[in-house]
């Protein structure tokens, strides 16, 4: 085991796959020489050369078209969209092209591609560089959507995404880039569509994703001190969604809370809450509660950003209040 940062784990995951399969190439803005603006692709140019690690112009539609065309013709490309907010200028390629081409052509073609992207808030980047948009992607049939929260998961899920034959949007929690975690030596390959129980508990189930996972864990630590046993589930993959793990936990605890970075309306938790309401209503002992960012753009002032994003404190308070009611 060695300690690795989340950002270094991204480069290691990509390197693991590029070393294994020479059809894997990486393209994006400033990903080669500079190792990425978030330093998530450091060393890849040196290791794999300019034919496989390629800097692009600032042309997000062209970047996504490039990986899509390449994926249909024999490569297994990885693209970087620097900030996930930029998906708004190339969403056509994601929604109308990547997500639909396989279905629309009756399965004539596979689209083995990954689009990685820095997602979410916490870095004081303001409203246009801080959005958590994984819920946009979840709403489009034909995409797979993952967000790891630990360095080990970053490597394993990146490997799973690269090896998958469908288009995968790989959301990196920007706020977690400097965080560290233990990572085993050797090849790591995870499975898409699986959630992880980060902490077992009996009184309440808390679902979290990406940046919200460590905050939920912190809240659970605090609540343990109050005698409340919280089960924290790292959802990890929105599509496919591990409903078995989620519904199983709700059956055990009878209480459900979601912790979402998305603005409130139609955040990913809303869909999961709807599934739980339909499938597991009689397992619930009390109403479900969603802990979300309010329905506003993220302000850049550190005091305001901290105020509106769900925090360990706000999660703990919400759960505690609900369970004591």
């Amino acid at each position: 085991m060695a300690e690795l940062t989340y950002r270094d784990a991204i480069a290691r995951g990509i390197a693991q796959e590029m070393a294994r399969d020479d059809r894997v190439v990486l393209i994006g803005e400033d990903v080669a020489g500079s190792g990425g603006v978030f330093k998530t692709t450091v060393g890849l140019l040196d290791q794999f050369g300019p034919k496989r690690v390629i800097d692009t112009p600032i042309s997000e539609q062209a970047i996504l078209g490039a990986v899509m065309g390449a994926a249909m013709t024999g490569l297994r490309p990885v693209a970087e969209i620097m900030f996930s907010d930029f998906f708004a200028v190339c969403w056509d390629l994601v929604v109308n092209q990547m997500a639909k081409t396989r279905y629309m052509t009756n399965g004539q073609v596979a689209l083995p591609l990954v689009v990685k992207s820095g997602n979410g808030g916490g870095l004081r980047f303001g409203a246009q560089h801080s959005q958590a948009i994984e819920n946009w992607a979840m709403a489009v049939p034909g995409l797979k959507v993952v967000t790891p929260s630990t360095p080990e998961d970053v490597i394993g899920l990146m490997a799973a995404a690269v090896r998958d034959d469908d288009p995968v949007l790989f959301f990196e929690a920007k706020g977690l880039y400097p965080t560290k975690g233990e990572v085993p030596a050797g090849e790591i390959v995870d499975t898409l569509g699986t959630a992880k129980v980060r902490r077992a508990g009996t009184d309440a189930t808390v679902l979290a994703l990406g940046l919200m996972v460590p905050r939920a864990m912190q809240a659970a630590d605090h609540l343990a001190g109050q005698g409340i046993s919280v089960e924290v589930i790292d959802v990890r993959s929105l599509v496919p969604l591990d409903t078995a793990t989620i519904l199983g936990s709700v059956a055990k605890t009878g209480r459900l809370f979601t912790v979402e970075e998305n603005p409130r309306l139609l955040g990913w938790g809303a869909e999961i809450v709807s599934i739980v309401a339909e499938e597991s209503f009689w397992d619930l002992d009390a109403p479900i509660e969603r802990i979300t960012t309010p329905h506003i753009p993220l302000p850049s002032a550190d005091s305001l950003e901290d105020l509106v994003l769900p925090s360990a404190d706000s999660i703990a308070q919400t759960v505690e209040k609900a369970l004591q009611a």
Partner: protein
């Protein structure tokens, strides 16, 4: 096509194939219009009638394993690349035997077996994908080229700019073929583009640009061949603007709908005089390159092919209901009546 002696004329086999494929497009679309009017083809439909020479000239100038991307007006492109008519007509009629199993429709007649990478109903949206296929060809060293078809309406989309720039800056083997039919639905090019000559835009991307007569299959063929050779030599993309005209409306919308009087009768009449099939037939006969009887034989054969395609499509079954639920992911994690069905 007046001075046929002046251009490099391809061998007779290619000439015959040009005529055959142009005729296939014409007869296919004529029958599609007829069936659409009878209510047998659902949804909108954009025909290629009048624009056959551009599609055929371009596709015959490259190899079968070269790639192609299309547009919303793309009945002609797969036919030009060599796809048979049966599965295309069945697709229009929404039948399970359609080239896309009935799930693509008129705007998505994609047959990957002839190098089609799909046809996008979103204007300019397939252009970045064409560039990606060219990047792949370059990385793999396969020697393949990509024909990227688009209309005059696409040139004011951002994707046009991003695609031409990236292809040029990376010297990718793309042939950008603009089918300039003069109108984006009803808006004339002059009202839409500050620089109305699309070929002039090539200068902005440091690539060769040429405007030519899109009704002249030999002109298109010659120009695309040259661009393909250039691309295969690693010298990068080219932009070819083929001036053409759609003989019918933007789309088949039924007799109750009108796009309004946006084209003058005189203009339409002038262009109908420039029917690419008639121009070709006249030119090769006058030059004595092909006897009339051979062209007549092709006409008889293609008429029969188109009739057979309609018969095939009409006799085919609609897709089985379960067809709606498969083909989204390659990794089918779907079990009916379980959560997997709804949540993948």
């Amino acid at each position: 096509m007046d001075d046929l002696q002046a251009v490099a004329v391809p061998e007779t086999g290619v000439l015959l194939e040009m005529y055959r494929r142009m005729l296939r497009i014409r007869r296919f679309d004529e029958r599609a219009v007829d069936r659409h009017g009878k209510g047998e083809i659902p949804g909108p439909m954009h025909t290629s009638i009048g624009q056959e020479a551009t599609a055929v000239g371009a596709c015959l100038a490259v190899n079968e394993d070269d790639y192609m991307t299309g547009t919303h007006r793309s009945h002609g492109h797969p036919i030009a690349k060599g796809v048979g008519l049966d599965a295309l007509m069945a697709e229009l009629m929404g039948k399970g035997s359609g080239v896309c199993g009935g799930k693509g429709g008129s705007m998505h007649l994609a047959d990957f077996s002839v190098g089609s990478l799909g046809e996008s109903g979103i204007v300019a949206s397939a252009m970045p994908v064409a560039v990606g296929a060219a990047l792949s060809a370059q990385i793999r060293g396969s020697g393949q080229v990509v024909i990227c078809f688009f209309g005059d309406g696409a040139v004011n989309e951002g994707a046009f700019h991003e695609s031409l720039n990236l292809a040029a800056v990376w010297h990718l083997p793309v042939i950008f073929v603009c089918e300039n039919n003069g109108y984006g639905i009803t808006t004339p090019v002059d009202a839409a583009s500050a620089v109305p000559v699309v070929a002039d835009r090539a200068a902005a991307y440091a690539m060769p640009g040429v405007r030519l007569d899109g009704q002249d299959v030999l002109a298109v063929y010659g120009s695309v061949r040259e661009a393909a050779e250039r691309a295969r030599r690693g010298e990068g993309p080219s932009l070819i603007e083929a001036m053409t005209y759609r003989f019918r409306e933007h789309s088949e919308m039924g007799s109750n709908f009108s796009f309004g009087p946006y084209r003058s009768d005189e203009e339409i009449a002038e262009w109908l005089e420039r029917d690419p099939l008639v121009l070709f037939r006249t030119a090769v006969l006058e030059a004595g390159l092909i006897p009339a009887v051979e062209l007549d034989e092709i006409e008889t054969e293609v008429d029969a092919e188109a009739a057979a395609a309609v018969k095939f499509a009409r006799r085919s079954d609609f897709p089985p209901p379960e067809q709606a639920y498969v083909g989204l992911y390659l990794d089918e994690r779907r079990e009916p009546a379980s959560l997997e069905l709804d949540y993948a």
